[in-house]
Amino acid sequence: MSSARVTRFSSAERLTHWLTAISFLYAGLSGLAIWSRRMWWAAIALGGGETVRAWHPIAGVVFALLLATMFRRWSAQMRLDADDKRWLAVSHKYAVHQEGGVPESGRFNAGQKMLFWLQSSSAILLFASGAVLWFPELMPRTLRLAAILIHPIASVASIGGIIVHIYMSTLVVPGALRAMLRGWVTPAWAASHHAKWFREIK
């Protein structure tokens, strides 16, 4: 049993995820350089201020397009069911690994689903405000004044969510990173973290 592999993510899913991650990383790091002068080293590392100003919006568009394909593929699976709502109510127990009373999860747990919706909605805000900030000379002042506030607020939500996502998937749930890199998990992993999903596919 221990040597058996359960397929968790298709190669298309993995590829899209990692391309999205790379574009996010570039847009996020270059954005943080714009956010704070303490992060300006990131702008220098990514090619200097002028390069970052030219490529940050392009990375943003790539990110938005990739996220849109992710959205098409996953949005149906990301709907919250009754168990998910109960899961969220006891998520503090999940956080400290108390398992009593935490409902079993499907292919994605409620936390992952919330991340999906957080990223989708903040991406819409980032894309809309980013388009305004990209071409200041073409945009009316009122729009620019709104965008200059909306863009950082949405990016705080987005990066905040990603910090949790990266921490969870690399350090908290051993096996999750391999699932996204190589596509498979062990049966024990599937039964432990996504029991409802494992029963469905067994």
Partner: protein, 260 residues
Amino acid sequence: MQTVAKLIDTTLCIGCKACEVACQEWNDQEFTMGVFNNTYQTMPDLAPNFWNLIKFNELEIDGAQSWLMAKYQCMHCADAGCIAACPAPGAIMRLPNGIVDFAQDHCIGCGYCITGCPFDVPRLCAKTKKVYKCSLCSDRVAVGLEPSCIKACPTSCLTFGSRDDLKFAADKRAADLRKSGFQQAGVYDGPGVGGTNVIYVLKHADRPTDYGLPKNPSIPWTVQLWKGPVKLLGNLVFVGGLLAAFVHFIRVGPKESHDE
């Protein structure tokens, strides 16, 4: 160091545009073709290579035809919106003498300064992708010369000196004008941005917008909100998120799978 300033007594402006030409010449700007629309406004607006503009405002005030001329350029604010909004280190600086100066080699061309400026002064050049504006001839001032616009002005509408002296002179001139029957005469120097180093004497100080000047200039509230509470909250989320992850990992650790 003393804060320098420029005083514009609009009541003395004759609209000769010598200051426009002097600015173009000293700053080595390319000549740009003007427009003709049956007014004196041959240059329609500030441009990346045009930093000093006389606005010719023709309007009726109290039944009388008025021709309000006002020089329009960077105001060199004490609390400058361009500096507040600029993300690029070293691109905009406030010199010890109060001049707000752009350093184009550090400018990344994001245009945030344009949005941050309550006077709508900086202009983005499509070709160089850098932003430009009046430098109050910081190069001339540094060696004890007055800005070129001031040097060219034939009517003493423009004067240059220490801000305190010019504020005093402006207040006195406004009081004189009020005594001469111009009830609404006053001084415009942008208290909402900590005071501007370009000071106006206006015959109709109660209606600055008729001169093309904003009524109560201040750094836009969205920029202030971003640079204040949003940035604080965001830093808390970023640093707090990393810290929380670290503490969680040390105290709670990974969620292992059950062996079957």
